[in-house]
């Protein structure tokens, strides 16, 4: 685990270390099983075509969970994610598999975040962040906000 981040260490405008992610058809199947979302839009190409969409799409909730990981990785074990929101603005399409475990070459996604406010409220040391998921073309397909509690060196 990386070193614990403290409220005193950060400033408004700072960027959160980006988190790289690759969506594959295999990951979508794993996510379907782990989350319980068995909508065939996420794994059945023939069904997707009949629904009038081009390709299998990445679950919104998986993108949400990637962005949650961006925050929990950053705040470390002593931090606490207090609020989180995201909106799905555009669809993402997974890489296909090249072998049983390797994806084909293609898009890599980056979860990114920027600090927008640093304050103390109700005795908690808080930070607000603007967050987003960037696709391989540099477009934000999911955007959101998060508020975290960080430990303070003065407590």
């Amino acid at each position: 685990m990386p070193e614990q981040l403290y409220w005193e260490d950060i400033e408004v405008g700072m960027e959160i270390t980006p988190l790289a992610k690759i969506a594959t058809t295999q990951m979508l199947v794993k996510w379907a099983g782990a989350s319980g979302d068995f909508n065939p839009l996420h794994y059945d190409s023939a069904y997707v075509a009949s629904a009038g969409l081009g390709q299998v799409i990445v679950h919104g909730a998986l993108k949400r969970q990637w962005l949650i990981q961006l925050m929990t990785d950053w705040i470390g074990e002593q931090g606490f994610l207090k609020k989180f929101s995201c909106q799905y603005g555009a669809m993402d399409y997974p890489r296909h598999m090249k072998s049983i475990s390797e994806p084909q070459d293609g898009e890599t996604w980056y979860c990114k975040g920027k600090l927008t406010k640093k304050y103390i409220e109700g005795g908690q040391h808080l930070v607000d962040c603007k967050i987003g998921l960037e696709n391989g073309k540099g477009e934000i397909t999911t955007s959101g906000r998060a508020t975290v509690i960080l430990p303070s060196r003065s407590v």
């Binding site: 782990a34 990981q69 990785d73 669809m91």
Partner: protein
């Protein structure tokens, strides 16, 4: 216009459901995200942490103890609302996740049993050229066995009517 049968459901809640947070389910959830945080899967590490136990990633609340409906979505839409949507020509097969909001108050630990109640906060209909969509806002409150609220969740679902083109729902 939203049919009266659907509109009447604003403010109503589904039955209370119970969710069990099993450690195996927590691990599989973290693995599906490709999140290797040891707090979610390394029992010895987690025991020595400030949580003294495996915890679930924020956003995971376990699996229903008693599955009441075998639908394709993990989300609990109150059954009356689901039936009214189907009747009005907005089938479950044409639903898209629009986004969500969480407020977390306490960590969720492996072994917890959470209760959840979902309330229909609002329903909005938008009509375009090819048909119409309904945006539903569903609020869920999760509590632990001590009666403490661990998290609140707001979900936004976009449903399109049977004759509405898909791109409209995608950009809702």
């Amino acid at each position: 216009m939203i049919s009266e049968a659907i509109k009447q459901l604003i403010g109503t809640s589904g039955a209370m459901k119970y969710y069990e947070v099993e450690k195996g389910a927590v691990r599989r959830f973290a693995e599906a995200v490709d999140d290797n945080n040891p707090l979610y899967m390394d029992e010895e590490y987690a025991r020595k942490s400030k949580y003294a136990s495996i915890i679930a990633p924020p956003g995971f609340f376990g699996w229903p103890l008693k599955q009441t409906r075998g639908g394709p979505l993990a989300v609990d839409i109150p059954p009356e609302l689901e039936a009214a949507f189907e009747k009005a020509g907005y089938p479950l097969s044409l639903v898209l996740d629009g986004g969500m909001e969480y407020e977390f108050f306490l960590p969720v630990r492996a072994g917890d049993i959470l209760s959840a109640v979902t309330t229909v906060r609002n329903l909005r209909e938008r009509t375009g050229e090819g048909g119409s969509i309904i945006v539903s806002f569903l609020d869920t409150v999760y509590q632990n066995r001590a009666g403490e609220t661990v998290a609140k969740q707001q979900l936004m679902f976009v449903r399109r009517s049977l004759n509405s083109p898909p791109q409209e729902a995608a950009h809702a």
